[in-house]
Subunit: 337 residues, 2 copies
């Protein structure tokens, strides 16, 4: 009886929203739902519902270097799931060692399902559409849709897996991209921060709470909000011009709007900004204050915010490295030129 009462008291204490939790909620910050059912609703694609068969197949395709012209580059090359879903370079490097021609930094694929659009210039509506881009881009995977279909249909084990996932639906380039995207939709990373927003005051350290408060009070949440703490399009350099504006641009976007990067796992995804020109989180935080908010972020404030960011380090899904089907006699040969 005593134990039951204590449990109830503890549970109430955990659930009672503190003023900081309330502030976070008012600023639009949202947790990744703890309940799988609720989460599934958020990450699912009604046009191509997530199934186990699609996710397993999508994982294989995500890691399959043979989708690239050279046979050397997979989705995982730039969106490396071992290192926060990024490559750690300033700008992506792809086919024939080409650097991204717009000097754009590879964004993380973790939690990308929560973004309202994809790519730095937001030109793509979802991960399905995004996945078609880098596969075809000459300085990235440099493949054609025909190459992709030839590769996949040349291996009976892949054909069987597509049949299992989609029945008799023809294997098209779009279906391959959709399948990769289905896997990507599962790449969400719940963190201590989510437990805090869900009512567990102990999930953040005192300094992390101080950092979160500073983050909200400074107005960072005007862009870094929602589940992803980012993912929407915003004007860039609204108060002052960006320090490293001389490198990198948003080719597809006349208005110089930029997709706000997620802050989830941000401690793992240096270097920062669309052009990867900023090496440290401290500089990134202070530069953002200066150019977006007209605020001088002190070293102490930046340090507290950095501590808060540690609470956004999420638990990555357990991914067994796939065994891919062997090439057949009809599989296109890799071409490194």
């Amino acid at each position: 009886m005593k134990i039951a009462i204590i449990s109830t008291i503890v549970a109430s204490a955990l659930m009672a929203a503190t003023p900081l939790m309330q502030d976070a909620k008012n600023a639009g910050l949202l947790p990744i739902p703890a309940k799988q059912k609720e989460l599934n609703k958020l990450i699912d694609n009604p046009k191509n519902p997530i199934t186990y068969a699609k996710v397993e197949l999508g994982k294989k395709l995500f890691f399959d270097t043979r989708l690239s012209k050279s046979g050397l580059i997979s989705c995982n090359t730039c969106h490396n799931l071992a290192t926060g879903g990024v490559d750690g370079l300033q700008a992506a490097v792809g086919h024939k060692w080409s650097q991204n021609p717009h000097h754009l930094n590879s964004p993380t694929v973790y939690n990308a399902v929560f973004f309202s659009s994809q790519f730095w210039d937001g030109r793509s509506p979802d991960v399905e559409n995004q996945a078609q881009g880098p596969i075809q881009a000459a300085p990235e995977m440099a493949a054609t849709p025909e190459h992709i279909v030839s590769v996949v249909t040349s291996m009976p084990a892949y054909v069987a897996e597509f049949k299992k996932a989609y029945g008799d639906k023809p294997i098209t380039f779009e279906l391959v991209a959709d399948t990769i995207a289905t896997f990507e939709r599962t790449l969400v990373t719940p963190a201590p921060y989510d437990k805090f927003l869900q009512g567990n005051d102990k999930a953040l350290t005192p300094v992390q709470k101080k950092g979160l408060k500073t983050f909200i009070d400074l107005g960072c949440t005007s862009c870094h909000t929602g589940i992803a703490l980012g993912g929407e399009m915003q004007a860039f350099g609204v108060v002052a011009p960006y320090k490293y504006a001389h490198i990198g641009d948003f080719a597809g976007n006349k208005d110089k709007m930029v997709k706000v990067p997620t802050l989830r796992n941000i401690t793992e995804t240096a270097p920062y900004f669309h052009n990867g020109a900023v090496a440290t989180l401290k500089e990134a935080i202070q530069e953002m204050g200066r150019i977006q908010l007209g605020a001088t972020v002190t070293d102490e404030q930046a340090s507290d915010i950095q501590e808060f960011f540690k609470s956004l380090e999420g638990k990555k899904p357990n991914i067994v490295y796939p065994q891919l089907p062997a090439c057949s006699a009809t599989t296109p040969k890799p071409d490194i030129n």
Copy 2:
């Protein structure tokens, strides 16, 4: 009682060596031991005994692209564990998209622990020594020993893992290579063929048995023998010169001896030969007969041998894709030039 008798009869039938099993044994063919204890004795390195902590750390290092100068290339780039432990290219491609200057094909890392020496020219005694090579080679990972030590020691989580694995032993380049090698020592792939050699006559199909018999009768086992069906040094082109001798050479080896590649998982590791010039197994088998044995291998014989090779497709170890420590402020920056 009846069941016990039947079981005994079945067990005896399974264990009685057939003439083909006896032929295989006489030809020096050996199974991967079914008993973990026996296997452990074979794969262990007495100078650096295998432990769970070393293998887990070695796996991380094997997949860590930050060990390369560019930050883009890991051991797994050329020895991809998803595709038979190879990259599927004719010749390896590394730093700045350089092709291997000797046009040498990346050999599989699966079962490499069973080879008597490493590299095509056999210049390296074991996987520990081998692992030091590609990390430093300018056209491969292009790193220096100092770079490797800087990268690893810049990340507290790595330092902690080394401490767990080795106590207070200093973190040197050699220790990093040894740790990668410890992981590689576990990459063995038992196959139906092993069950056959262990006495289970049903483990091979009738055509596979025919293929194995042809393989032995032709004399292929004079080189492709032992546990790895390869792994020793042999003279190359003893009866006739190799058809594609104009590309690729063994720079380190005056005598033109070549390391016999393992036939385990050979159906997954095209293209073939030291220079990757042969696209199909059929051509590889017939060319070997011609230049090494002075034998014309008929299409039917080649087809049977190919069927036998399918029994060498092994079960790969279950590898959870690692989560690597995040870079710190002191981690060397990737340099793609």
